[in-house]
Symmetry: C2
Subunit: 556 residues, 2 copies
């Protein structure tokens, strides 16, 4: 963090100008809940839309929207009920809850990787001060589940539920609808932009650790045995900054990293490239992006490979995107919990024939012995493995148990011809933290400079996500200039996808300064010449250059 107060000035500006503000502040606010304000709201929706447009280009992904309120069973199946938790301790003096690992930062290289006993031992040994009251008196640590819980329905009909910790689960449980939509052809993907929730024990760092956040996730379903055709050539000219779990930090192309098996799946590599493109497109400085591979002990137990896109800013390097190869874990977990199948079919090039050795009945003995049950005995016997020894007891379809002797059976060989098989697809998931990305876009765009001896700030936002496209100023609100400017502003607002801001307060210089501060790419001024020839002055935010144009060129 820079020590010159830049972060404080930036945060003050974001609040004053309505980018980001603590939510419900007049009611005392609530930690970890933020508003996107009159300026930030538009930026958020443009980044979300840009993200969707970016991934839609793949041509085989669709957008879903699933509920945020999620029944208990879904998140039990996904493992969140059991494993989505942090270790908490409470100050017995002031009652404030803290994350045990956070209290021990500086006393251990990686306290959040410690097991419960180790963490408790370290807490007892260090006995840190409470960040709220400075006392040193802690309760025993407990695992605190991080999901917001609620009840769906009322009275005795009410069922336990949670706010979703990620958008992913609704997409996994929709697998069969997706499979049908894509006419059973893999690979395909589902994506969702929406809210995720994490009831943090002690939120901090502004937009970095929120209790309610904006996520964008893609679940891309692949056949693990299909030939891989990922084209990495678009990124050949752009070596990436990679921190793998095997090597020293390196700068190399995605193609090289795949060849060296640092990146273990070419689709993961391709998605890293697409992620890089997106981040640069919305305005992240490419020099401050790196990809870090999860260590084996850091990775979720089911993940086969995981790379984070980290962005460097005022809080250091921060994880903003995770690109994980999740194997078949998710679909398999929901299959197990529900007894329903979530599978795709793979056709064989040639039908496969399998010969299975087993048993069938000896009709001449089974008929007289089992009479009406003979049919059920046949079915049960044919399901017995080759190594069964007789006599043995078997259970029939009607739950009756009978004893089968050697005399009732004879060896049998079945030939099964199959044209294909059902399998559980693998999933590759790029998961984006939209708030963290917006924060870093702002952090990288924010420039402090001087103008006429005064402090001056400028946001060099990419045009595609700038909250305001045009600021329209009447030089004065008289002689018809005010009306002309307002009409131009209104016409611009009538164009879908365009936002204009009308500003008539103070000098033109002050108005330029206000527009620059929120990153408006172009300012249009209606002046005396406009009254004569209809042209307006267009000023470029970054160069300060001014030219006269006819506004019809913007309205076409």
């Amino acid at each position: 963090m820079t020590g010159d107060g830049r972060l404080e000035r930036l945060n003050g500006m974001l609040r004053r100008r309505g980018f980001l503000l603590p939510a419900f502040e007049i009611h005392g606010g609530a930690k970890g809940l933020y508003d996107f304000g009159p300026v930030g709201g538009r930026m958020r929706s443009r980044v979300n839309q840009r993200w969707l447009d970016h991934w839609l280009q793949l041509g085989n992904v669709v957008e879903l929207s699933c509920p945020t309120v999620t029944p208990y069973g879904v998140l039990e199946a996904s493992g969140h009920v059991g494993e989505f938790s942090d270790f908490m301790t409470e100050c017995t003096t002031c009652g404030e809850a803290s994350r045990a690992d956070t209290l021990l930062e500086g006393h251990h290289a990686n306290p959040d990787a410690l097991k419960r006993d180790e963490l408790q031992a370290l807490l007892t040994a260090v006995n840190p001060t409470c960040p709220s009251c400075n006392d040193r008196a802690w309760t025993t640590i407990t695992a605190q589940n991080l999901m917001f819980n609620t009840t769906i329905g009322a009275g005795d009909s009410g069922r336990a539920g949670f706010l979703r910790p990620e958008t992913a689960q609704g997409m996994f449980t929709s697998f069969n609808a997706l499979h049908r939509h894509f006419r059973e052809r893999l690979p395909f993907g589902a994506m969702q932009v929406g809210k995720g929730y994490r009831n943090e024990i002690a939120p901090r760092q502004g937009m970095i650790r929120l209790r309610e956040f904006n996520m964008a996730e893609l679940e891309y379903f692949i056949d693990p045995e299909a030939e891989l055709t990922d084209d990495l050539t678009p990124w050949d000219g752009r070596p990436m900054h990679l921190l793998s779990d095997m090597e020293e930090p390196a700068v190399m192309t995605l193609f090289e990293a795949c060849k060296k098996e640092l990146i273990r799946h070419p689709t993961v590599a391709r998605f890293m490239g697409i992620t890089h493109d997106f981040l640069v497109d919305v305005g992240i400085d490419p020099a401050r992006i790196r990809f870090r591979q999860h260590e084996q002990d850091e990775m979720a137990h089911y993940a086969m490979d995981c790379w984070d896109a980290e962005i460097q800013g005022s809080y250091g390097w921060v994880e903003c995107v995770g690109i994980a190869h999740r194997g078949c874990y998710d679909l398999e977990s929901h299959e197990k919990a529900t007894g329903k199948t979530l599978r795709a079919r793979r056709e064989f090039d040639e039908p496969r024939t399998t010969v299975i050795d087993g048993w069938t009945i000896n009709g001449s003995t089974v008929g007289p012995t089992f009479k009406g049950l003979a049919g059920q005995v046949k079915t049960a016997v044919e399901a017995l493995p080759k190594d069964t020894s007789f006599p043995c007891k078997i259970t029939l379809g009607n739950d009756e148990v009978v004893e089968i002797g050697q005399e009732h059976v004879k060896p049998n060989q079945q030939t099964i011809k199959e044209t294909g098989e059902w399998y559980i697809p693998h999933v590759i998931e790029p998961a984006f933290g939209i708030d963290r990305i917006i924060w870093h876009v702002i952090d990288h765009a924010y420039h402090e400079t001087e103008k006429n001896g005064e402090h001056y700030t400028l946001m060099r936002l990419a045009s595609c996500i700038a909250p305001v496209d045009y600021a329209v100023f009447p030089l004065f609100e008289k002689d018809g200039m005010g009306d002309l400017a307002w009409n131009l502003h209104q016409q611009l607002c009538g164009k879908p996808g365009i936002v204009s801001m009308y500003d008539a307060s103070g000098s033109i210089g002050r108005r330029y300064a206000r527009a620059d501060e929120i990153g408006t790419p172009q300012c249009l001024t209606v002046d005396h010449q406009t009254l004569e020839d209809g042209t307006v002055t267009v000023r470029n935010r970054d160069t300060g250059e001014q030219v006269r144009i006819h506004p019809d060129t913007l309205l076409a």
Copy 2:
């Protein structure tokens, strides 16, 4: 409801084709929670974006995004903790919870307007059967708050909170940030598209009554004393179907309805016009829109006027938009609860001078009597009203109580000059139920017909919100037609805002049928001629007309 099974067939299609599906169905689902699937997800986001673009045209509105998790105090101030409830009764046989008013439909004209005692009496008298088990054994009715509750934070630091029942409250509590953004110039508005939650006792009617729903609300802040300049001429040629609380149903223009004072505020009338435009734009049949004014006893106690836009469809006439004049209720409630001001300033044309009669001290007696306290006595005496009689006891700023006699005071007149005043703005709120609108768009677009003696369905969706813009078909996946078609599909997907779907399964006729069923406006077929001259066949969904074009015209 039509009795010919159309609704069942439509719902079946929506599910099969991935428009709308019960959420988390493999886990048994949860009533009142729906997914927008592979087709519906795109449609939802297009309708949301269209809504934002539509209102942005006003030129003085901005988009916000506030958290859905909301602290208790905010919803206590808004009245939701106390008043947002339905009367519930539970079946003592099966435990199923029901809304008491729903059970009594058919036994009273308007059971949801009944007071608790009346409803209980009617329930006891009618003793209806349980919709779940058919028994007749009900618990005493109780008021059930309809908000999903949760806890923000963990342990003793945890605070009560709810999922927001509407998006509005976050916009009211952001008033000061909005006022600053618009440089203190009213009118201005804030809008928000997002989730709202209502923990229905017994959800029913598919998309009409959800527990988690998509809302779009605009809070438009006005000065109640400002001159009204709403222009209603854009709707002069379009008389509206109005059900006012004063007259028989009427068809008249918004201008006439304002003149007759059926609509009590011209901004409400203008927003009714803009709402009508939006509904028609996204594909609602204008003949099936009407505006119904709330009866005095139906309106929230604070509302000054309220008109619902109702749409007619398979469930009859359904409220889909509410346009309410809320007066100063909301901002005033948050002011009272927080002690913070949420006000705008109104400058007077001329400064106003007020003369106030009162008292001041008689220096010659107060000085010797009160010595060092004389200053505080002066302040306290000048705050006394004119009708004070002496001697009297008064409390000074330091909490000391002194007795003031007639000899210590003399009459005084103060002249106060004010250039303006602070006031609480009024709010006009159009609130849209996006799910209900999407449902009716689909209902109105769904056409059943016959083709070659077979049942055939066609969705005549407006191009601006159709989930898929183009379907691309190779006549066969051979001779390079498959690759050409896939490339065209990919290029179309690369255009922001465009979604293409590739389909190579079955005959062209089957593929047209599948595209028509989900409302794809245009199908492009790559055939043998494409290999020669690069042109493709474009088929229009509604006319069936086919022409050959060069795809570059679509990609420009």
